[in-house]
């Protein structure tokens, strides 16, 4: 049985004297009836799929609508020139978020985390750590268990679907998962993990899902960047000892309430927000089947 709250995970960690990620691994073993090795292998395979999505990025590729493509490459070139405001590490985070989110829009293979539309956030923070900080595949997999555990609680208490809860449920959840994963990677405590996740989610509370022409492109691709960068800053906040004033589980509950109150035009219907702007309206979904 999956954890119903982040607090339950912390209590379980204490009872069993295991780190956050291991609590989630044990829960997966129990739920699916698999061995530790099988579960870990599946997580490592998932990580390989994330790595492959980044490595196989094609700068020339465009989405079917023509709205998306090439921005990851532009950002990479800009970073290589060494004049960024954010510095080289955050520059890589931004680049990776764009690359995976664009690959998704261009019908390439990605890992939904927790959704396809938010698939760039988690790899965006993990890949630079892997490449620059000499972190091992196993350590990344452990951080991914942490991320998955946070996402699982959000899915149980609120939602990870834009149609149900708006973009806060997709990019917000992905950002919370990524923030927790980073704290886990840096050896932070269980409490710090949950507070990093809470702060990341709080910062994106209320974000609406307003995709132009109903496609997972505008503004989804660039919102992966904000989710990733937000996760970096919230992980640093938590590691510095800063806490969310609202307890993490209550933040998740608030996200649900905000999602429930959100007008349906702002929940993946392509009818409100940016989708309803004159420029958004001017974009036609390619080759609609309506004749």
């Amino acid at each position: 049985m999956a954890f119903a709250s982040l607090q339950e995970i912390l209590t379980y960690m204490e009872e069993k004297s295991v780190p956050f990620w291991e609590a989630i691994l044990m829960e997966d073993m129990a739920e699916r009836g698999v061995s530790r090795e099988d579960s870990m292998k599946k997580m490592l395979d998932t990580w390989q799929a994330m790595l492959h999505a980044s490595d196989s990025y094609e700068p020339q590729r465009k989405s079917a609508s023509g709205l998306t493509g090439g921005q990851g490459s532009l950002m990479e070139q800009y970073c290589q020139a060494g004049q960024t405001l954010c510095g080289p590490f955050i520059g890589q985070v931004i680049t990776e978020a764009l690359k995976t989110a664009e690959s998704n829009a261009c019908m390439k293979r990605i890992v939904a985390a927790p959704t396809a539309g938010a698939s760039g956030v988690l790899p965006a923070v993990l890949l630079p750590c892997y490449r620059e900080h000499g972190v091992s595949d196993e350590q990344i997999a452990q951080a991914m268990y942490t991320a998955a555990g946070i996402g699982q609680v959000i899915a149980a208490r609120a939602s990870v679907s834009g149609a149900a809860g708006g973009c806060q449920a997709e990019i917000g959840s992905a950002s919370a998962m990524a923030a927790g994963a980073l704290v886990s990677l840096k050896g932070g405590s269980g409490k710090q993990i949950t507070h990093a996740a809470a702060m990341a989610l709080k910062n994106l509370l209320g974000l609406v899902c307003d995709p132009v022409a109903g496609l997972v492109e505008v503004p989804c691709v660039k919102r992966n960047v904000v989710g990733a960068v937000n996760a970096m800053s919230c992980a640093d906040l938590a590691l510095a000892g800063i806490e969310s004033r609202i307890p993490p589980d209550q933040v998740i509950d608030a996200m649900r309430e905000v999602g429930d109150r959100m007008d349906s035009s702002l929940r993946e219907t392509g009818k409100g927000g940016l989708a309803a702007t004159p420029a958004g309206q001017a974009v036609q979904a390619p080759g609609s089947f309506h004749l």
């Binding site: 829960e27 293979r109 998955a148 699982q152 089947f289």
Partner: protein, 221 residues
């Protein structure tokens, strides 16, 4: 949700509902046809019709019909592959009553002449629900090993299927019965805890009064 529903599926983008779910619908339709499809008439309803091309829903459905799974990198090229493999297909917009916004209805013919009409919905996160089979309203998800039996609507068929599963030491997790008065046909949908062997399925399919028997292993896709 399991953690690999949170970190996963590994899939070809851009949308779990409009792309990955659509591949699964096509794949399930091929499995339920139990034949290599050679022609497919595909109706798209609701959001599938409105945003299907931009999300690759059309190519995803055809990819599934060709036997591809949601992480197959050939999905964007499925139309060309279909042409090479002798699958002809057409798309149209349909308006269905009380259907989920992400619904497709497929009319299929296989190379050995088998036919199937299937209506299915993509309900989020790549998960699907089969809503209609050969005109009979049904509802199942294919998330567990599932045996689908299409038989004449007469006494004794439930007992026969249950006896067969009992012989194979297979536990039935859930069972649903549906019927169509006009055609006199019924459908049984059984979710099982253990796998059903191919031999058992073909023995069932070959027996009197059973029109079709198909088995779907949930781990396949």
């Amino acid at each position: 949700m399991n953690i690999f529903d949170i970190l996963g599926p590994v899939m070809v983008g851009p949308s779990s509902s409009h792309t990955a779910g659509a591949v699964r619908i096509g794949y399930a339709a091929r499995k339920l046809l139990q034949d290599k499809p050679v022609s497919a008439k595909i109706g798209l309803h609701g959001s599938f019709a409105d945003t299907g091309t931009g999300h690759g829903t059309d190519r995803a459905l055809v990819a599934g019909l060709l036997g591809m799974k949601p992480d197959d990198t050939r999905i964007p090229d499925s139309f060309q592959i279909a042409a090479r493999q002798g699958l002809s297909f057409s798309f149209e917009t349909v308006q269905l009553k009380e259907a989920h916004p992400n619904t497709a209805i497929l009319t299929l013919r296989g190379e050995s002449g088998r036919c199937l009409e299937i209506q299915a919905a993509s309900i989020g996160g790549g998960r699907i629900m089969i809503r209609k089979l050969d005109g009979i309203e049904i509802s199942f998800s294919l998330e567990k090993p599932t045996l689908i039996v299409n038989n004449e609507d007469k006494p004794g068929y439930v007992a026969r299927v249950a006896a067969l599963l009992s012989e194979e030491q297979i536990n039935i997790a859930s069972m649903q019965l549906y019927r169509n008065h006009k055609t006199g046909h019924a459908i049984m949908v059984l979710e099982t805890d253990q796998r059903v062997s191919e031999a058992a399925v073909s023995a069932l399919a070959g027996s009197e009064g059973i029109l079709k028997a198909a088995y779907f292993n949930s781990e396949e896709v």
